[in-house]
């Protein structure tokens, strides 16, 4: 199962991040790029349950451990950001990454693992069971085809970067990108008021595997 931990700047949580591999013993995490903004210092929060989703999670949490991480790659086309830890302290399994888009069918059961509302301070990790609503292929400038899963899932603040895992085999199938929302809706801050649909877009995981090969 994927280990998912909250990504933070020096003073607030940004999103969820998935442990996807190691580079020379240092952990590599992936999250989405769109929420990074003008931040240059990043950390991965380590809640008391260490991202073990089956463990009982206690709250409220008075203090939390964190490891500093550096952004090592940005992929704006796929809306992904990769980070490497500065410490080898994290000893956790990382998931098999699904690289076969044909292995996933509409209707398949998926698990979405992440930290909804992490941006307002929640360290509660949750799993939601969902299904593949559609398989998509976003065309970028008629040159790049980006495989995406559309899932029936309500994405909340902080859910960006959540792991999407195929329930039947535990493989990582993608990273939650965001929720469809009608354009030009009113917002409070950066929260669109009419975006709570159940149409969530997921960047398919094969690009993660391709990117890891470049490190």
């Amino acid at each position: 199962m994927a280990i998912v931990l909250p990504l933070a700047t020096t003073d607030r949580l940004l999103s969820s991040a998935v442990l996807v591999g190691l580079k020379d013993g240092f952990p590599i995490f992936v999250s989405t790029l769109h929420q990074i903004g003008q931040n240059t210092e990043f950390q991965i929060g380590i809640p008391p349950h260490h991202g073990s989703i089956s463990a009982i999670q206690e709250y409220p949490i008075d203090e939390i451990q964190a490891i500093p991480v550096d952004m090592i790659k940005a992929d704006p086309i796929h809306d992904l950001a990769f980070f490497i830890g500065r410490t080898k302290d994290i000893q956790a399994p990382f998931p098999r990454i699904n690289i076969d888009f044909n292995d996933i069918s509409v209707g398949d059961e998926l698990l979405v693992i992440g930290y909804p509302y992490s941006t307002i301070g929640s360290f509660l990790e949750t799993v939601s069971i969902t299904n593949v609503s559609a398989k998509g292929r976003r065309i970028f400038m008629k040159a790049i085809k980006i495989d995406e899963l559309i899932i029936s899932h309500q994405t909340l603040q902080g859910s960006s970067g959540s792991a999407v895992v195929k329930r039947s085999d535990g493989s990582l199938c993608g990273i939650v990108k965001g929720t469809l929302a009608p354009p030009n809706v009113a917002s409070i801050g950066d929260i669109p008021l009419a975006s709570d649909t159940n149409v969530t877009y997921v960047t398919f995981s094969s690009i993660i595997n391709e990117t890891l090969k470049t490190f």
Partner: protein
């Protein structure tokens, strides 16, 4: 700073992109789309097609900002930057060293992480080299 770039072709920098992006840039360029248009489109991608929550943190003008900073860095010959001195001191300077140095410099100027700037720095340098260093810099107005 310009002298550092004189020995490179713009394709040297495009070739440093990740395989997916590299092939896309070449494909788009072959079809007649300018590198600047490609950079502008790429910089809008994390926010395109949906309202992703938190998307307001993404600056869709990031490419234009980075292009402007890279152009200033390369074309301004009034002072030699610390970065230029560092790069000139490197033995066997490579595109990777230049990209890392320029990304760090531009990132610190604009407040972005260096890695976030990197693909846009590559495209910016490629635009300048493709136009020709002197041609670009003679027409560039900061």
């Amino acid at each position: 700073m310009k002298t550092i770039f004189e020995s490179f072709k713009y394709t040297d920098f495009i070739d440093s992109l990740d395989p997916t992006l590299k092939s896309a840039v070449y494909k788009l360029e072959t079809s007649g789309i300018s590198l600047e248009a490609i950079g502008t489109e790429i910089s809008s991608m994390p926010a395109i097609g949906m309202t992703t929550k938190g998307v307001n943190n993404w600056d869709k003008t990031i490419f234009q900002k980075i292009l402007s900073e890279v152009a200033k860095l390369i074309c301004d010959e009034s002072t030699e930057s610390e970065l230029a001195k560092q790069l000139k001191a490197e033995a066997g300077i490579s595109t990777q060293i230049i990209i890392a140095g320029v990304s760090t410099y531009v990132g610190s100027k604009l407040g972005f992480a260096a890695a976030l700037c990197s693909p846009f720095v590559v495209l910016s340098i490629a635009i300048i080299l493709k136009a020709g260093l002197n041609v670009f810099c003679n027409t560039f107005k900061p």
